[in-house]
């Protein structure tokens, strides 16, 4: 829950946020009302992607930063 709590505080302080969660913790995004969330199908401990998978990691991070500008409403969740 730490990411959701921190994202909310940052957002309330005037900093736009996007959080990356793994699917197993997707419920935190809704329950905590996280402003923008990207959900990955990866296992715990590899939120962004596989070890050494530069292209896969890049897709996740690129999707996340794009969501910063493309999310139309609070609570946006992008499932990858």
């Amino acid at each position: 829950m730490s990411v959701g709590h921190t994202a909310r505080v940052l957002e309330e302080s005037g900093i736009s946020t996007v959080a990356i969660y793994i699917r197993a913790f997707r419920h935190h995004a809704g329950n905590l009302k996280v402003p923008r969330t990207v959900v990955t199908p990866n296992p715990l401990g590899r939120t962004v992607g596989r070890v050494g998978d530069v292209e896969g990691q890049r897709r996740v991070v690129h999707s996340a930063v794009r969501l910063l500008s493309e999310a139309a409403a609070p609570g946006a969740i992008l499932d990858l």
Binding site: S2, L10, S13, S16, V48, L68, S69
Partner: protein, 188 residues
Amino acid sequence: MPATYGRTQYARAGTGTIARSQRPGSVTSCPPACSKTRRLNDSTPWTPLARPLSQARLTLISTGGLFIEGHDPLGTSGPTQEEAVPRIQEFLRSDPVLVTIPKNTPQHRLRVRHPGYDIRGAQRDHNVVFPIDRLNALEAEGIIGHLAEEAYSFVGATSQLRLLKEYAPRWARGIKDQGVDAALLVAA
């Protein structure tokens, strides 16, 4: 994230109201008729990105528990990963410590310790929970305007109440003062 999170007290940001989760690993959902417990959050905070992404200043915050070799946030006698795992309850009661990591820190200088997940992937490639190399590349490509010089990490297994009421607001002020427009947060 460990199931023991469900036993940790937490508070609604900005209000000080406290709720307690009833089931490990879950957040209690309180129906309107439930008057003795309170909803965790009723609304979603929202700050639109202040400028186009190609001009924005971003930072990275990971709850993966990274730090720089020789700068253990728990001191020179900080626990090893093997020692930290059985002490997760102690972590969950402790204050979070935000570690500053310059964006060009070489991978071989990064260390990871976290009692709540298997850190072996992050030890081999920190980008799996701390994707600073991917963000540096997006900055070089001009997709993001600026990557802030300092990125951050802390151990997500920490006191949620103190994180909300004391630490995150303090961190937010410091990050805001650096002219940061947006933060990418990674849950580990």
